[in-house]
Each structure stands twice: as C-alpha cells, then as structure tokens.
C-alpha cells in the first residue's frame, strides 16, 4: 500500500532488522507476534449484527492502532426473475474514513475503498460460505445481507482487521424468524368435514424435498409474517465457517505478521491467505492474493500456505473464544446483572 512514503535508508534499516536473527522490529515483537487485538460485538443496536475491532490500540488511552467497525443489516428483497439469487445475497462494502488516510486524495481513497471492497466481497459472497437461512420464501423473497465496514484508522494490517471484523459481525448477526404464509388449494378433494384443530392448509416451511427431484417446485407462498417480533431471531447459519485472513509480509527469505505502516512500506510482497475452519470439515483456503511488486515461486508458496494455515488457526481459536465470551457477556451476564439489581 502506497499510503506511506518512506526513504531508501529507512527501508533498508527496517528490512535489515527483519532479516536479522533474531528479528528486530521497531516495537520489539518477534516476526510471528501480533499486536493486541480488542473486539466488541453488538456495538450498533439497530444493525442485525455488528462488531468493533482494533489492532494495536494503546490500552490506556485508546490511541493509535488500526480500528474498524463492521455492521450487518438485513433487508427483505423480492427475488427477480430466475437470476439464481433465490436464496439470499451477501453484499459487502468497505468505506474508509478520510481521517484514516489523511495523505490520500479523494480519488486515491476511492480506489482504496474499491480494492478493499472487492477482496472482501469476492471472498465472503462465495457460494461455499453461503448461509442457508437467508431464504424467506423460496423463489420469491429473501434476505439481502449488507455488510458494511468502516475503517476508522489504519496503522497497518488492514486486511486482517477487515476479515476479523467481518467474521465478528456475521457471527453476531441474527436473522429474524419468518414464517411463510401460503394457501394451498385443495382441488379434487371433498371438502374436509369436521376438521378439528388447524387444518392442513397452513404450511410452515416443512417441505422436505428429495435431492433427486429436479423439477422446479412451485410454491404458492406469497407472503410471510414475523411470528415473534420481540425476538432477535436465529443466528446466521454457518457462523463457524466465516474465514479469517492472515497477511504474510514477505521479505525474502523471511515472512512476518501484523506489519506496521512503515514495515508495510518497506515490504516488497504481501500474501493474503484467507482460511475457513468449518467445525465438521478440514480447513479450506478460501482466497489467496498477492500484493506488491515482488514474486514468489510455487515451492515457496506451498510452504507459505502451510505456515499461514497454522497462524490462521491460532487466530481463529482466539477470535472464536472471544466471540463466545461476548455472547455470554451480552446476554446471560447482562440478565444476571439485571436480576441482581
């Protein structure tokens, strides 16, 4: 990222520090150390899921560091004709606060936002990660999930921050429960006499369809209702699948994690590896991207991916633990506190 300009002398000094054994970084971290990450969910009460994440913020006064806010908002969408979006869509967008990049012109800022949006959107809207519960009425209505991330401050490692915040916000997202309302005409049937209890005309999403059945199933459901409007809803399906990103900053032959802006400026190539760790399946590499002018050969790449998976796993464990803690804090503990008042 060309956001920070740097002199040749500075660059060679930083590179020399990284190549030394043991590596010397300006803030004294080792090559695989992350700065401290803080994470909070539910920061935007009107969103369906939200999170605020910062990397390397000063714990005492909250200054410095990279800071992003992510919010997921669900919107009812009428499915247009046959364009294959019948089961909901995810649209991501990243916007950068100009104060995060004071030295970028408006045009450059737009470009940056666009780059970040593209990476995030292409990765998260992939079919392999698609949550199954975005459908309201099959083929008629579905949820459109808008995931908006705002970059408030960037002091390095923005991609990792973006993906982590996205994961946290999506983890936090709850989909309002809906019930499809449908009227099935019962043709050629004698009128049910003395039907007791609810007659079978009401169909509440109970259809189980065989996988062999390739016919187009035409549902008569026209509308839906909210059975319980006080309820936040159920969690977005596949919350454990949402990936994390690890940026490997390559200063051949070594690589390091969580670069500071100056370090980023003096690193020729960066490799983004996005891993998903589904609970019941082996980890998958969801995306891979090279940033910068340098080059990496295939053999090196292979070992880097293996290394990256290891880092990503650690990161995932930490973030998932924190997210679960947040869930408890916001619900159970808050209730207990209320009861103890």
């Amino acid at each position: 990222m060309a956001s920070t300009s740097i002199s040749k002398a500075e660059r060679s000094y930083i590179q020399a520090g990284l190549l030394a054994s043991p590596a010397r970084r300006t803030d004294g971290r080792t090559v695989t150390d992350f700065r401290s990450i803080s994470l909070e969910t539910g920061v935007a009460p009107l969103a369906n899921g939200s999170a605020r994440l910062s990397i390397g913020q000063n714990p005492h006064n909250g200054s410095g560091g990279t800071e992003v806010v992510a919010a997921a908002k669900l919107e009812v969408e009428t499915v247009e004709e046959e364009d294959g979006t019948g089961d909901g869509r995810i649209v991501c967008s990243v916007s950068c606060s100009p104060s995060a990049y004071p030295n970028l012109s408006t045009g450059a800022l737009d470009d940056l936002q666009h780059d970040l949006t593209t990476v995030l959107h292409q990765t998260l809207s992939d079919r392999s990660l698609h949550p199954s519960n975005l459908v309201i009425l099959p083929g008629k209505k579905s949820w459109l999930l808008n995931l908006d991330i705002l970059v408030l401050a960037d002091s390095g490692n923005i991609y990792d921050a973006l993906f982590m915040a996205a994961r946290a916000a999506l983890w936090d997202t709850k989909v309002p429960r809906t019930r499809s309302v449908e009227y099935k005409a019962k043709r050629n049937e004698p009128i049910a006499k003395n039907t007791s209890g609810g007659s079978g005309d009401m169909d509440v999403d109970q259809d189980t369809t065989s996988g062999f059945d390739t016919r187009k199933i035409i549902s008569n459901a026209i509308d839906f209702e909210l059975p319980d409007y006080w309820d936040e809803g159920e969690v977005l399906d596949g919350r454990d699948r949402w990936p994390v990103c690890v940026t490997l900053n390559l200063v051949p032959p070594v690589h390091y994690l969580d670069a500071l802006p100056l370090e980023e400026a003096s690193t020729p190539v960066r490799l983004l590896l996005v891993f998903s760790f589904p609970s019941s399946a082996p980890p998958t590499l969801q995306a891979m991207r090279m940033l910068g002018a340098g080059e990496v050969n295939v053999a090196e790449l292979k070992s880097l991916v293996t290394e990256g998976e290891k880092y990503a796993k650690e990161m995932m464990t930490a973030i998932t633990f924190k997210l679960k803690e947040e869930d408890v804090r916001r619900n159970q503990k808050a209730r207990e506190k209320f009861a103890k008042r």
């Binding site: 920061v43 009812v76 449908e182 043709r187 936040e232 916001r330 506190k337």
Partner: protein
Amino acid sequence: MVEITIRKRSQTEAVITQRKFFKKTARGKVVKVLRERYLRDDVGCGIEGCRECASSDEELLPVNGDLTHQSYPNGHYILPDTNVFLSQMDLLESDRFRSPMILLQTVLEEVRHRSLPLYNRLKALTKSEDKRIWTFYNEYRSETAIVREEDETPNDRNDRGIRIATAWYNTHISLTRPPIRGQTKNAPPTVVLMTEDAANRQKAEQAGISCISVRKYVEGMKDASQLLDLLSATGSDDVEPTRASGRQVLYPEYLSSATLMAGVKAGELHQGHFNPNPYNYLEGTVSVPAFSKPILLAGRENMNRAVQGDIVVVELFNEKEWKAPTDEVVDQEATLKNDDAEDSAEEGDENGEDVIAKESRVLRSAQVPVSERQPTGRIVGVIKRNWRAYVCHIDSTSLTSTLTTSLSTQTVFATPVSRLLPRIRLRTRQAPSLLNQKILVTIDRWDTTSRYPEGHFVRSLGKVESKEAEQESLLLEYEVPYRPFGKAILDCLPPEGDSWVVPSKGGGDNHNVWRDREDLRDVIVCSIDPPGCQDIDDALHAKLLPNGNVEAGVHIADVSHFVLPDNPMDSEAAARGTTVYLVDNRIDMLPSLLGTNLCSLRPYVERLAFSTIWELTPNADIVDVRFTKSVIQSKAAFTYEEAQIRKDDPHLQDELTKSIRLLNSLAVKLKAKRMTAGALNLASPEVKIHLDSAESSEPIDVEQKELRETNSLVEEFMLLANVSVARKIDESFPQTAVLRRHLPPPKTNFEKLQDILRKTRGLTLDVSSSGALAASLDKCIDPSEPAFNTLVRIMATRCMLSAEYFCSGSVGRDTFGHYGLASDIYTHFTSPIRRYADVLVHRQLAAAIGFSPLHASLHSKSHVEKVLDVVNRRHRMAQMASRASVEFYVGLALKGRGEASKARGEGEVREEAFVIRTFRNGVGVFVSKLGIEGLVTFTRDIQFDADNYTVTVPGSASAGSKEDAKISVFDKVVVQIEVEKDKNTQRGKVKMTLIEPVDSRAL
C-alpha cells in the same frame, strides 16, 4: 468551567435499557425498532395516602380498596390480565362494576396490540368519572420491569410481568402500612390478579399471589345476578370443564388471517361482504369482484359461522359442484322449532341429528340442476366481524323455567328482529322477566362446536309493541345515531337562540352578515312543501322579465352560514349524515333550533338563503344562471294541495298565484325535456300513514300517497338547481367536488324481469339505455289492470343500483352520469337542513363564487371520500329505517282494521295483491294498496314451474274448487292479511293467506 456529565448509559446495559423489536411494514420490509427504556423508582402506586409514592391531584384509588366483596373482607383492588379486557369489556363498562382497578402498562399495550377498538374502549373507561382505575407503568418502575428470558414467548413474558407487578403491589402495600403501636393491626387490602387464563392462575398461586377468575369474582359481588349476565360467553368453559370435552365439531376451522391474505392476494380466495338470503336461512351470497354473479354459499357448513355484513374470504368449489340458488322458502323458526338451547351444542343428541337431517333434506332438494348456475363456494375465514348489538326477542320455548321468581341461570335463544341473522344463544338469570321484551344482545363468539353464536344480554329496551321499545329498536337496528345533541354541539349555535334575526342592513350588522349578500326581501318568494313540514329548506320565485324571458329562482336555506366547518356541530352532522324520518318521529341531523327555526325558510320572516337564479326562455332553456347568497322573506308557505288549489282557481290573479303558474308552466317544459333525454319515471311503493292525533299516534289508516302537479313543480326546479350547481362546483373544484351519481345497472340485473315479462305477458323490456328502458316501460300496460304498469316499474327499480355521493376526483369522468335522471352531472344542493352532502356542496359553491375561502378539508380528496362514505351509508340506513317504521305502522293499522272488521263480523282484512315471485312452496305477493310485500306459503305439495314462473295448486274439495289453479307472476290474487304474533318470540309478523283463486287456508 462547567463540568459536563455524560448520562448516556453504556452499551453493556443494553439488555435492560433497550427494548428491541421487529416490525413488518405494509410494503413488506422488516424494520428493527429500538426503544430506550429508563427505569425509575418513583412510578406511583396510585393508592390514596401511600407514604412512599408522591400523590398527584389525579384521582387515586381508595385506601382500603373495595370492602364489599365477600371473598376479601379486608378490602381489595383488582388487577386484570389482558384477557379480561379482551373478553369482558361489557362487564367492566357496566355501572354496577365499581371495584377499584389497577391497569398495568403491559396489559394496556397488549390490548392495543390485540384489538384497537377494545383499546379505545379501555382508554375511554380509564377516563370515565365513575370508574376507579389507576394506570401503573410497571415497565418503567425498576422493581417491576422485566427482561425477556431466552426461549420465552412474548405471552409468557407479559404474564410473568403481570404476576411480578401483582406481587410487588402486595409487598408495597404491606411495607407502606407498618403496624402502629397501640392499634390492632388491620390486615392490609389485597391486590387480586384477575385472569381468565388458568395456567397463569396456577403459576400465580404457586408464587403465593392471590388470583381469581372473572366469573368467580363476579359471583362474590353484590349485584352478582345482574352482572353475571354481562359476562361474555368466553368464560363459561373453565367453569364447567367437563362440557368442553367431546363436543362435536360442526363447522370447519378458519384459516389463519395471514393465510387468508396470501390466498386473496394470489387470487385463489375471494373476499367480500356476506349477505344472507332473507328467504332461506341456509343460504347466503358473497359478491366478489372476480365474478359478475355473487358466490353462492349453500348450507350452514359452507356459510361457516358468518353473520350478515362480515367481511369473509371464500374458497370456490369446482365448477361441476356449482349450484343455483334455491327457489324455496326456508324459515329458520319453522325448521328449528324443537331445537333446544341447552343441548344444541352437545354431542350427538337426537335433537341435533334431527336438525341436521332436516337441513340436509332442504339442501338436497336445492341441488336440482337449473340452467342458471352461479359460482359456489365455502367460507374459509373471516377478515372482519361486523358484530354489533342486535335487537332480539327471547324465544319462550327455549326457557326451562318461566317462573319470574326463578333466578337460576338458563340458556335461552334470542331471535333477532332481522331475518338475516341467526338465533343467538345466551345464558341469563333474568330469562323469565325478559319474555315479551325487546332486548339488546351482543354476539361474543361462535365456536366450531356450537351451531349458534353465543352472546350475552346487554339491556332491555322495553315491552314488545310499546312505541318506545319499537322505535328505539328500529333506530338501533339501522344504527341511526339518536342521542340528544351534546353541550359542545349546542354551544355552536348562535347565542341569541330563538330570538336570532337577520340584523338590519347597514348599522346594526356587527357580524358582517350582509357582506356580499343580495337583498331579495322584496322578491315574491314562496315555499311549497308537504303538510306539516317544519324544516322548510327551499323556496321559489318566478317573474317575467321585460325581454320576454322568465327569471326563476330557487332559494335554499343558508345552513353553511350557521354550520361552520370542523366544529363539534359540523362533525356531528357529518357523522349523522342525514335526518331520519320515521312515521311518528324525526331524528334530526342538525339541532332543531337551526332545522326548524333559524334555517327554515318560514314565511313573513327574514331568512338567510343561498339562491340560484336563472334567466329562462319561455321554452325553459337556460340563458344565464347565477348563484348568490341572499336574504329573503318568504311571502307564503303552501302545502302541495294549497298551491294546487290556488293555481287552479281562475279568480285569483295576484302576483303570488301568477308566479306559481309561471313556475308550473316552466316545470312542465323542463319535465318534458328531461323525459326526452331519457329520464326514468321510477316508482316505489309509497304509502302514507294517517295518525290519529299527535299524542296517541295510533295509526288510523294507510293510504297511498297522492301526487299532484305541484309536487312535480318543486321537483323540477330542485333538479334544475342541483344540476346547475353540480356544473359550477365541478368546474371550480375538479378534484374534490361533491357530486351524486347513479350508475347504469348491469344488463344482467334485468335478465329475470325480462324473462318473466316475456313468458307471462309477451312483453319485452329494452334495457340498452335509460331512454329505451323508459320507453319500453311505458309500453308495459295491461289495459284491464292500471296498477300493472306501476308494478313493473317497481320491479324494474329494484333491479337498479342505488345512487351515491362521490368525490369528483375519485372516479373517471365518464361515470359521473345520473342514470335515472338522464343527466351527465348531478349533486344535492337543495336540502342542507337534512342532508350533510348538501352542506358540503354549499361550502364549495360559496367558494366557487368567491364568497368565502374553501375550508382546507374540502380540498383533500381523501377527506371528502371519507365523509361521503359515511354519508352514503347513513343515507341507506335512514331509508331502511323509515321503510321499517312505515311497515311497523302498517302492521298496527292492519291490526286495528282487522279488529274493527271482526267486530263488525266481517272477518279478516282482505286485499288485492299481485304475485311478484314464485317459490317451490309459495308465492311472494305485493299489496299495492298497503305498500307491503308478503309471503304466502303452501304446506301442501304444489307444482312449481321454475321456467315459466308459475305454480299450480291442485284442486281439492277443501280448497273450494275442484279445478287446478295456476298462479303466475303478475297475476292478481286476493289475500287475507292478519297480523299475528309469534307465540314464542312475540315478534309481530304479517301473515298472508291466499283467498282467490284458491283458498290456501286449508292447504
């Protein structure tokens, strides 16, 4: 430096401080709504003298609660659950129910969510002065606020909140009343949770909260027997739990409302108003936009608990199952005579089976295929109930004990006065004393297991056939607002009252009454009205102009001068819509000071008027028309008869008589023009009731209204004025002009009449246009029977649609026309004292001539539409009410006449009548002399020829002739008319029997 403290609560407390919920908007979007909640410690308990809670000057609950209930000798307050308000509002509204009540915010909100009308009644209840209700905002008091647990349904959460609030109240009361040394400690009053929900009661008991069901509570009250009747039927189930089990389901369940909406949207289901068939209680129809013919619903099960006027959703059957409406008269009372009120809901009792068998017989016979099939279906749901209070009689046979001293609860049938309604089952302790009374009954519910709707007794109107009871029941039945005008309304009248006069021109005119008013006091104006008319709203004048043309003027009472837009009097008039004329009474739209005095264009006094003045050629073509507010002084008030005599008297040559003659000559030409344009000469049976004297108001006799030339004179000029005004206001306010139209009737409406005429008389009716119809109606003459033409006209009129008010911007310009009058545009301008639409038209016309600015509400299309909807409905109801009133008096007159003729030894009243309809087991007849319709049913088999509209009564010795008698539509018959009271319900009923050509008394 000022220190700034940030009061915003941290996000970590969100669970407590925020209330979140989702809302689905009308457009189908889902919106998340967030409400901030601040919990306080100073939400008052509302009990007088509570030392903790600051008492405001509002009405507080008494210190010791209510001491009269036998279960709570230490005093108590009741804290009702939501379901109490949802089902027992009548009880809580009763004057006798005076227990102090604590209304929780949770309950209030739940009621609002469940039913808006009930919520509004509840709000009114809390404001009423004789109730002691304290609204406690429990969701905002920190001790009673609760947070929804995980997996807790909203209902459970609310129930829990209500229980916690009850518990808090009880501890609060005991804490704030510590024992005082030296005094014996009185137990503090209890707060009792009142709920119909057994599960909630159980939980409350476990938590040590005292609770009670409504029925139990009322049983312990002082006025238990009266109050118990007000209990809605909902509560009866848990009192006798054994009854609820094993009931036979008689009707299919309704689908959920969301399903119904989905079905209607998808076009699979059809929505419309339910109209029962007045001749056959087992049949009804629903008109839907999808079909030109209404959907037929045959049989109880397919009508599925719909009551007249409900908005229902219908599912169609396959086309091969479509049926034609029955041609048989099926009387509910006759068929269900032996049905027992106690048992009718029970499982498999003999009686029930009997009824089912009987009904299915009726239905089977109805399945005979006839060429005229119409869409048939069944009701699968009800969108909106149209239940109101109905005027009923108690069916005496349904009583198990008729001893007036008996106070045991009985289940009895109440038969509504209207034939369109099913019998209502109700439980009452006062049954014996309610016999022979007209009573008001509300329907509470209609379960799938109950053949009849269940209701409760509201109040008694008085003895059957007493004038007061009959009149009030009539007004209630047609929903005519008849309460006296309130103070706010009377305050809108001029403060001078009776002594108000038009101020003298010039100096004395403080209120600028004369501004822009023409002085027409010298013009020779007169009014012509029916005899005894008090609200004279029109007057006329005519004079020859020097150029040979005629100046004619119509002067209408300037009501809009007194009724200003948007004040209480205006809103009341808008709600009443029209004055209702009953035979012996008039329910005014405006306070009588205006209607019969200040606005009435009485002779010899100065009155404000709104004048329409034409210059007409001697051929009655309009040269010019102008509108102006004016001051007139009528020179005479004639009755039609007086005016006629004056006009015909050749000796009278004064100005007044001349102007009447001038008006008459113009009216004749105007009428001729209208007729050439294709106006219809319609007929409706109109009769006049002679009243003995004002006090006794015993009807002496009935006669048909006489029409004179002068009736037509007034009518023609009113039509002319209405048309001229309509053009003017439509021109000035093309979007919001108040107009009146009469849509051309669909051709299919006439099919049956055309067929009857062709088959029985060989006559044809051309319905292609109003002109063609008028011409062919003129040809429908039977030389031997002059009344035949009138009869055909009456029947043709019934095929037409009714005229309606509309807002010019709401419908297409091509539908503005008035079919009956053959005018392209029309409105009502000439009777503002008795019709609200005319008041609106006056305002618009005043604005159109620049007299005054138009009130903003009359610029709003939606507002005008809303007002006109009400006016249209009121208008319809008013017509039906006056008709019913005439019918009642005709009945009384008949009774009197019958008694008189019996006294003379001449037997029953006999009248000539025309057959207007034939049924499988009877004929419908119209007695033109009395203006009433009746039904003659034959108990013996007769031959019915549906295609030729004839019935053939086989001859027999008992009927007086051996020959078969063939009776077809339009035949003249002689009927014997008697008024008989139904033995069981005391409902008066006109009974007709055929005398000629066959005597049906023996049949």
